[in-house]
Amino acid sequence: MQLRFETRRAKAADTRRQLMAASCALLGAAAARGEEARMAPADSGLLEDWSVDSALAYYHEDGRIQAIEPVVNIAKLFADGQALNFNVTFDSLTGSSPNGALTSRSAQTFASPSGKSSHAYTTAPGQLPVDPHYQDDRIAVAGTWALPLTRVDQLSVGAKLSDEHDFFSVTVDASIAHDFNEKNTTLSFGISEEFDSLQPIGGAPVAGSDYALFEKTGHKSKNGVGALLGVTQVVTRNWLFEFNLSVDRFKGYLNDPYKITSIIDSAGNTTGYEFESRPDQRTRKSAYWENRVALGRQISTGLALRYMRDDWGVRSDTAQLHLRWSFSNLDRYVEPTFRWYRQTAANFYTPFILSTETRNTPYEASDSRLGAFHALTYGLKYAQKLPGLGGREESELSLRVEYYQQTFDERTATPAALQGLDLYPGLKAVLVQVGWRF
């Protein structure tokens, strides 16, 4: 009798879990993204247990920086529908970072950002100038609380702190989501506010000032505010999508304090450098459309498209496609990913300043991230389900590898003396990530 009662209770709990999972299917809306906790098996009595998602990523750029990034995410879904989510991320970066100066036929000597003579470095002729002493550690913590207001409304609030030795950031956000059309449609709206404090090594350079004068001031700040309007729609039993419109606006010191721009004469000789000078405001707008389609019991695919533009003149298009194929009774899956990205250059981007040329804008930056390029990412993930820990139904171990390549699309006409040098070396990077969740 007791056994039958337990069996019935387990079945009821299992049914309840399935219904909850089904009702949560729409929680992929922007407001709910990241807040939905994975549910522990109800029949284990661990519905309120924390679920853990962790990863260790290694990132390596060809000849430049490398990074190690451990991440841990813990989540808890309460019986009343509330969800808590906490995340801790640590980054450790070392290596060589481009300082923005142009490759030259002569050796170039640079001071370190701190001005310490022991950290001065010299770049050989024909080589891209990089600061070989780049080193940075970052720790970030984030928390999100999702709270059902009614059967069809959900409020979500979050906060994020990020700390580096020369940068500190606080972000807060709040979103509200409303389900209707039998929970086939979810509308969401969210706002965010970001406060950043910059304490660059050696001080923040005066924008556009002569590098040789080493004009630096104290710490700087920038603030951003953003809004996101999203709709998630179930189209058929096998297809759902989300569409987001977002806008954000940043104000303050938007320069990279460690980037300089070469000044060259008509013969191609470097005659000096300037600290970069970007506008102190930037507004970005984006449209994002992501789809999920099940192609059978074992295969599903996702396609995401994004269009973005800002008032610096950057326009970008992004398309990302992945396919997930499960096998071995759904205990394993492989997931190939392909991403294509293209951006135009900011209006003030220039790989160098020609000293003989009249400048028609007070702004300039040679940061290649503001140039025109396209990038391709090829990725592959393998995951294996394993027995669960602590009474949980299962755990998952995964390995992910990505290759990322950037190629410049527009090249400025250069003096004849510089032709033959690789002025636009692009970027090649590899990411390897091991993941474990339970």
């Binding site: 399935q18 999972a21 009702s23 992929g28 922007a30 993204r33 939905e36 990863a55 990034e69 991440v71 995340n87 994020k160 990020s162 580096e164 950031s169 606080v170 972000t171 956000d173 039998e182 449609t185 970001e194 953003g226 709709v231 998630t232 729609q233 189209v235 039993r237 096998n238 759902l240 987001n244 419109l245 977002s246 707008k285 984006s286 994002y288 459309w289 992501e290 999920r292 099940a294 599903s300 995401a304 994004r306 269009y307 973005m308 533009r309 970008s316 499960s326 899956y333 951006q343 900011a346 991230r369 990038a375 993930k381 992910r400 990505e402 990322y404 970027l427 990411l431 990530q433 993941g435």
Partner: protein
Amino acid sequence: MTFKQVSILCLLSITAISSGCASMGVKPWQRDVLAREDMRFDANPLDAAIDDHMYFSKEASSGGRSFAGGGCGCN
């Protein structure tokens, strides 16, 4: 095509889809496939976060899926 045109086009498409197909969607008992883990937009949140951080530090665009920014001094 400008951002405004793209947005209007997308919104019109969404509106047309949503209003033109009032029957769009499924009944509660037809959510078996949609409830699958691989059908969730945040099926792999750490993968997405690590990728976003990489792209944020190497490209001029970020966000779209959620709020932009990155709380990182790398860009």
